[in-house]
């Protein structure tokens, strides 16, 4: 699926990276623990998380991810959005909870 599909499925708002919505993604991971993301993630290109801070964006960039979904409607600061923009990472914000958001994407064909 594309990042645009994720936006639609999760009823999400695009916070930055509008120009990258047509990029293809195949794998995602959901976690609030950045060390776990650094330890176990392989080629997942989407990170779903309830954690909102600069380290989430830095972690995603370390792992060459294309998109971060902030769940439960959490709103990142302007500084967080600016860093994501610098790295070319799409930021989405979804009202769903982490479990539901991951479940819906999985159901629609995104793998772990």
């Amino acid at each position: 699926m594309t990042i645009a599909d994720i936006k639609r499925i999760l009823n999400a708002e695009v916070l930055c990276g509008e120009q990258h919505l047509e990029k293809e993604v195949h794998n995602a991971c959901g976690s609030d623990m950045m060390s776990d993301v650094l330890a176990f993630v392989k080629d997942q290109s989407v990170l779903l998380t309830g954690l909102v801070n600069l380290q989430v964006v830095r972690t995603a960039e370390m792992m060459d991810m294309l998109c971060i979904v902030f769940v439960r409607g959490k709103k990142p600061t302007a500084e967080i959005i600016a860093l994501a923009e610098e790295f070319g990472i799409v930021l989405l914000q979804s009202p769903l909870r982490l479990f539901s958001a991951c479940g819906l994407l999985y159901q629609n064909g995104l793998n772990g």
């Binding site: 609030d32 623990m33 950045m34 060390s35 776990d36 993301v37 650094l38 330890a39 998380t49 954690l51 801070n53 600069l54 380290q55 989430v56 830095r58 972690t59 960039e61 370390m62 792992m63 060459d64 500084e79």
Partner: protein, 138 residues
């Protein structure tokens, strides 16, 4: 090629800047992406540790065609028991670190996992020096 960075104390917003800069440099130099990722993760965890557990410090990265050397030195409290510190899940990190997504006791194990060589020199009350080597994938 030698890169040097000062890791600022108690500044969580900037932790990771040095690793991101190293990653960008290695990318520009054309190193394999797997090598770059291993260097970036090891250095990032080390950088985060210097901010959480010590009061910042100095990072030096030496880039050779066949290997990347990283040295992270701080003047923090030192590590009383390295074996314990290397155990997955062992952490003395404060709650504030956990709010940032770190402090699960996975940092040093991650560093071990992603580097080819890891040496920890530490002295209580003086500081800690992590020497890491990542061999470049052929």
């Amino acid at each position: 090629m030698k890169l040097q960075y000062t890791i600022p104390a108690d500044d969580f917003t900037r932790a990771g800047e040095a690793s991101a800069a190293v990653k960008a440099t290695l990318k520009r130099l054309g190193f394999p992406s797997e090598t770059i990722r291993r260097v970036a993760i090891a250095m990032y965890e080390g950088e985060i540790n210097m901010v959480i557990h010590a009061s910042g410090g100095e990072a030096t990265v030496d880039i050779f065609p066949e290997k990347i050397l990283m040295e992270l030195a701080d003047n923090g409290p030192g590590i009383p028991d390295i074996d314990k510190a290397m155990t997955e899940g062992f952490s003395t990190a404060p709650e504030t670190a956990r709010h940032l997504g770190f402090g699960a006791g996975m940092g040093l194990p991650n560093i071990k996992k992603y580097t080819d060589e890891l040496t920890i020199h530490t002295e209580l009350g003086k500081g800690t020096r992590l020497c890491m080597v990542v061999n470049v994938a052929q």
